[in-house]
């Protein structure tokens, strides 16, 4: 039995969809952030798989940059969530509704 690139792509698609579902159904800000990290990881699997099956390293370099961006995003996102928590004592995104609808 040979592992083809589709094995990795399907795994990545499943993880990406789980992450999307997490963002859509959860309301705790931090869990939403974790779900998005999961989505980025799914993309990374795609990139590394493409990169290796084409015998390149470009995709791995892109993964390197995605990790830098993910770290920056996580830091900034957590800081914003902490600010909201100080105002409302909650990180529940459903309660973020003082803006008029």
């Amino acid at each position: 039995m040979e592992l083809t690139i589709n094995h990795y792509l399907v795994l990545s698609a499943i993880l990406f969809s789980i992450g999307t579902a997490g963002v859509l159904i959860r309301r705790t800000g931090i869990v939403i952030l974790m779900s998005i990290e999961l989505m980025l990881n799914a993309v990374n699997i795609t990139l590394v798989a493409f990169s290796r099956y084409q015998q390149q390293v470009t995709g791995e370099i892109l993964v390197f940059f995605v990790m830098a961006v993910a770290a920056a995003e996580a830091a900034v996102g957590l800081a914003i969530l902490v600010v909201v928590y100080h105002h409302k004592k909650s990180v529940d995104v459903d309660e973020i509704n003082s803006l008029r609808r």
Partner: protein
């Protein structure tokens, strides 16, 4: 590949580098000065932007990609860099009144604005997926920060969270699209992808294109990816909204133009359908939702959504004519939108009050000249002659008709009529008899001069559009 030319190629990056130097200097000054720190930083930031604008005009252009095919410093990117720098200058000028009035000024936002502009300048120049991704995320992350940085107001923090979550969600989806574009071709350079992508599987190429566009459409706030716009615009400090509603949008439109010229050039039939649909939905949604708003900031948020819809007509009817039209419309939109938000800053009272249409009452009596200029701006936003807004819409609709998109042009014209109603409400309120409360005159001169300068440009470009059009078509993307 020749890597030894990297030093010599630095001269093409002079405007970006000077901005970085200025922001680092501002950062150091801010760290070590105690009194008046914010004033110094603000001054340094505005000087840096003006210096960068001057250097930009002296920077050589090159139609060959630099840095091993990472970026290209062509006329197209040159034009957009002018838009970003002008937007930055006007934003910081408007900050003077806003923060003197509201207090709790944070000096850091000025060098964040500078860094964001550097990010956008690299974004419009990038012709490589990796450079594009990093620079795009740089200004995206600064946007989330600037939205949430006005900490005394809960609405700002909420705007930050909303913008952040939806923003990184859409950028993750865009990244998936990028991953597939890379995977299908094995290239990251836009030009190389463009020649390799047609050999790839059609379904996967289209899926990756759709994913790629989601991230861009989100940044431009096109329906159905616009949900964040009214809330974020309302919660964010008004001068920052001036930046948000102009510069990142222009940057993303520029990237979209570059992508459909290179990466997805083989799929014109497919993206033309997507853009047509999005343009119609966006125009109608933006204009109809703006009709029922009482808060001027939310009204202008929907109005900016609608204007993005007009610009999408140009993208649907892509061609030489529409490129010029889009670029013309974007620079006019910069001035129209800035003036409209400057008006909000003029009448704003503390903590988000003074944002209702009723708060504009009596403005004409108090500041007759400003009111006159705003009438010009409102005419331009609606698209009436003799303003630049009319010329911009005329070019876009002509481009649509030329390519046979008659219904799209009709829909655009119909939307201009709808928009008349809510812009008219602003105008009517200004000329109403009495103002209820006294406004403070503190630091008003900068706001006034921004509004006057914008309206002068709008009138000038509306009456003598040929010079601007010639300039734009000489540097437009080929």
């Amino acid at each position: 590949m020749n890597f030894s030319s990297y030093y010599a190629q630095l001269k093409y990056l002079a405007p970006e580098l000077s901005l970085v130097v200025f922001s680092i200097v501002a950062l150091c000054v801010h760290m070590f000065s105690k009194k008046e720190a914010n004033k110094i930083v603000k001054f340094a930031a505005i000087t840096g932007l003006i210096a960068s604008l001057i250097i930009l005009f002296d920077t050589p252009l090159s139609n060959n990609p630099l840095y091993s095919g990472s970026i290209i410093i062509d006329g197209f990117s040159f034009f957009f860099k002018i838009i970003f720098l002008l937007s930055g200058i006007m934003t910081i000028m408007l900050c003077y009144r806003f923060y003197n009035f509201e207090g709790s000024e944070i000096g850091e936002i000025y060098y964040l604005i500078l860094f964001a502009i550097v990010g956008m300048m690299f974004t419009v120049s990038s012709v490589d997926l990796i450079t594009f991704y990093v620079s795009f995320e740089t200004f995206a992350i600064i946007s989330y920060l600037l939205a949430g940085a006005f900490k005394k107001d809960l609405r700002s923090a909420e705007a930050g969270v909303k913008y952040f979550i939806l923003g990184i969600l859409s950028s993750a989806i865009m990244l998936l699209g990028m991953a597939f574009v890379y995977g299908l071709t094995g290239e990251t350079n836009f030009y190389k992808i463009s020649s390799a992508l047609p050999q790839a599987d059609l379904t996967l190429a289209l899926v990756s294109m759709a994913f790629f566009f989601v991230g861009l459409f989100f940044k431009i706030a096109l329906v159905p990816f616009h949900m964040w716009t009214p809330d974020v615009y309302e919660g964010t400090p008004t001068p920052i909204v001036v930046l948000f509603s102009t510069a990142p949008k222009a940057a993303t439109f520029a990237v979209l133009a570059r992508l459909i010229m290179t990466v997805f050039s083989g799929y014109q039939f497919q993206w033309s359908i997507i853009f047509t649909f999005i343009a119609v939905v966006t125009m109608f949604w933006g204009n109809l939702a703006a009709l029922i708003q009482n808060n001027v900031k939310r009204m202008m948020a929907f109005s900016s959504i609608a204007h993005a819809g007009y610009i999408m007509i140009g993208f649907a009817a892509w061609g030489t004519l529409s490129i010029t039209a889009i670029m013309f419309y974007l620079i006019v939109y910069l001035f129209m939108n800035t003036a409209a938000f400057a008006l909000i800053i003029l009448v704003q009272k503390k903590m988000g009050f003074g944002e209702n249409v009723d708060d504009l009452k009596g403005l004409a009596r108090r500041y007759p000249m400003v009111a006159g200029c705003i009438i010009v701006v409102l005419l331009s936003l609606t698209g009436m002659p003799p303003t630049a807004g009319f010329i911009g819409k005329y070019y876009i609709f002509t481009a649509a008709v030329e390519k046979g998109f008659y219904l799209l042009a009709v829909a655009g014209a119909l939307n201009s009529v709808i928009s008349l109603f809510y812009y008219f409400r602003i105008g009517k309120a200004m000329f109403m008899e009495t103002g209820t409360e006294e406004l403070s005159d503190k630091n008003i001169s900068f706001v006034k001069s921004v509004i006057v300068a914008c309206s002068i440009f709008i009138l000038y470009a509306g009456i003598f559009p040929s010079k601007l059009t010639e300039f734009i078509s000489s540097i437009a993307i080929k």
